[in-house]
């Protein structure tokens, strides 16, 4: 019995380690290539370690394309979109869960319908709309659209969390003479900090990684984000694999930093979506 469990334990570790290798090799391969000289790459097998570690590939990729511009655009868009979107979603979720609103369940369902609609089904009318307002290739245009697509999921998460806060708190706030605005900002929103934190990280990743909307509505090279910009960058360096991979690594870095710093919230956020 003990023998067998030791055997399965070792087998588990061997299989898990194989899995880890399988998961890390692609990343290691990209990183190694990004650090090679073009000579190393041409003369040695692709998966060999560099003989000459070229850290300067990174600054070269930075100046050789517009990676700085793309990253800057993505940072700016995320920094505005995420808090503004969550505020809009939280206000709505508050009305749907903690105010006296007739038909709130029906309204909530109408918001959920939005999760059924793939972005593809909105692109042409949104394009016409943005053109009319002169908002193609602008920050306000894309941020407005990003907020729109975040609304159904954000309301789903925040409404679920708001409902779990005891009603007695509202009554206490009412007795203390708080209006609805104060009740929202001073009582409910601070208590919902875990849900808000989880939403911040999920929302940041969704915004940072978004591709199809940016592809259609931000076509000007000065306005591109990391995803569409990386497509352009790769297109410009199709033959220079060292620089291409240096670019891929650099656009990964901000995501990795956010992931490492907020890992706990990420896990609880994804898992929190279960509870609804």
């Amino acid at each position: 019995m003990d023998h067998q469990s030791r055997f399965t334990r070792s087998l588990t570790y061997i299989l898990l380690s194989l899995g880890v290798i399988l998961f890390l090799v692609p990343l290691a391969f990209v990183l190694i290539t990004a650090l090679k000289s073009r000579h190393d790459l041409a003369s040695m097998p692709f998966f060999a370690l560099p003989t000459d570690w070229r850290w300067d590939n990174f600054p070269k990729a930075w100046t050789d394309g517009s990676l700085g511009t793309y990253i800057g655009n993505s940072v700016f868009i995320s920094v505005i979109k995420v808090p503004l979107g969550i505020l809009v979603e939280a206000l709505a979720a508050f009305a749907l869960s903690r105010m006296n609103l007739k038909g709130s369940l029906t309204i909530f369902m109408v918001f959920l319908v939005g999760m059924m609609i793939p972005m593809q089904a909105t692109l042409v009318p949104l394009n016409i709309f943005l053109h009319h307002l002169g908002l193609v290739n602008t920050y306000p245009g894309i941020i407005f659209i990003y907020i729109g697509f975040g609304v159904p999921f954000g309301i789903l998460i925040l409404r679920g969390f708001f409902r779990s806060i005891p009603k007695e708190l509202d009554e206490a706030a009412l007795i203390d003479g708080c209006g609805d605005g104060q009740r929202f900002f001073r009582v409910i929103l601070p208590l919902a900090r875990p849900a808000v934190a989880a939403l911040v990280i999920l929302d940041f990743l969704a915004t940072w990684n978004e591709f199809i909307l940016a592809q259609i509505f931000l076509t000007n090279d000065k306005m591109k984000t990391v995803t569409t910009g990386l497509m352009t960058f790769v297109g410009q360096h199709l033959t220079d694999y060292t620089l291409l991979n240096a670019g891929v690594v650099m656009t990964m870095i901000p995501t990795i930093v956010v992931y490492v710093v907020f890992q706990k919230h990420f896990v609880s956020g994804v898992a929190g979506a279960v509870k609804g």
Partner: protein, 293 residues
């Protein structure tokens, strides 16, 4: 006066979200439904002609690439649901045990999930490069001559992109399953062990039924993700070689924005909506019923 204000006040809180939601999602999608019954090349001055169901009929009778894209989307979705769900469940059960380095293993398997489809696409394009790691590995076993060019070969490209999606997509169902497993109490297992139940019996009779809710959520999210796959396809193969990797979302893009067949593209996107509804409507009804209880 004050009464009316009290009735209106919730709407004040609801207003920004409702307006943005209407302008960005609801109205445009209905507008697209309308466009799917017209032919139009997208130019403001061009003529728009009503053609009824023609765009839909032509997709199914004349557009062979659409038919391939539909088959591919079906295969992709079914494949993702089966493979991702079972792999993630297996991994979650293993990682839910007392293991040294459990946190490390979990972080590694979650990690790709946080990347963008575009970054993942370029990472794996490099893996599948004719002289990349995969073929280098094959040549270690003397298979160098048989090493294919994965993404340029019409019979291999779709499978190669699909494998990439497994690496990319396992993290989310894994997190969901792990969270679900943590809510299962220990007592039923203890009772089962006393009754002499095998580990497999414990899994089938306790773990699976207790994970029902999580399982439904996982299946729904993987289904939706599979239906909508776009970034990976677009950045890895662009639908090629010879259109063999086209899916509904990518073919919608090419029809609408590359060939200027706005009506046809709109019809494809509404087929996506229709197929999504088949799964999401029961799912939303299930989850709201659960939540209201």
């Amino acid at each position: 006066m004050t009464h009316r204000f009290r009735v209106l006040k919730p709407w004040l809180f609801l207003f920004p979200a409702a307006v943005i939601y209407l302008i960005v999602i609801l109205v445009p999608s209905l507008y697209t439904l309308g466009l799917s019954f017209f032919t139009w090349n997208g130019a403001a001055t061009a003529q728009i002609t009503f053609v009824g169901w023609d765009n839909y009929i032509k997709l199914f009778t004349e557009d062979t690439v659409f038919q391939l894209a539909l088959t591919n989307t079906f295969l992709w979705t079914v494949g993702s649901v089966l493979v991702l769900t079972s792999l993630a469940l297996l991994l979650a059960v293993v990682l839910n045990r007392q293991l040294k380095g459990r946190t490390f293993f979990r972080s590694v398997f979650y990690f790709p999930t946080i990347l963008s489809g575009i970054v993942v696409a370029f990472t794996w394009r490099w893996m599948f490069h004719p002289e990349g790691v995969i073929n280098g590995f094959l040549s270690l076993f003397g298979l160098g001559d048989a090493a294919p060019s994965w993404l340029a070969d019409p019979s291999l490209a779709f499978g190669s992109v699909f494998v990439t999606s497994l690496w990319f997509g396992i993290g989310q169902p894994l997190v969901l399953f792990l969270a679900g497993l943590q809510t299962i109490p220990k007592d039923p297992y203890e009772a089962a062990i006393i009754d002499g139940a095998t580990p497999w019996q414990q899994f089938a009779k306790i773990t699976l039924p207790m994970l029902r809710e999580t399982l439904i959520i996982v299946l729904a999210t993987i289904f939706i993700g599979g239906m909508r796959v776009y970034d990976l396809i677009f950045a890895m193969t662009g639908g090629g070689p010879a259109e063999t990797t086209q899916v509904l979302a990518s073919w919608m893009y090419y029809q609408t924005f590359q060939f200027n067949h706005v009506g046809v593209g709109s019809a494809i996107s509404w087929l996506l909506v229709a197929i999504s509804m088949v799964v999401i409507v029961p799912y939303v009804r299930f989850s709201t019923r659960q939540a209201e209880q």
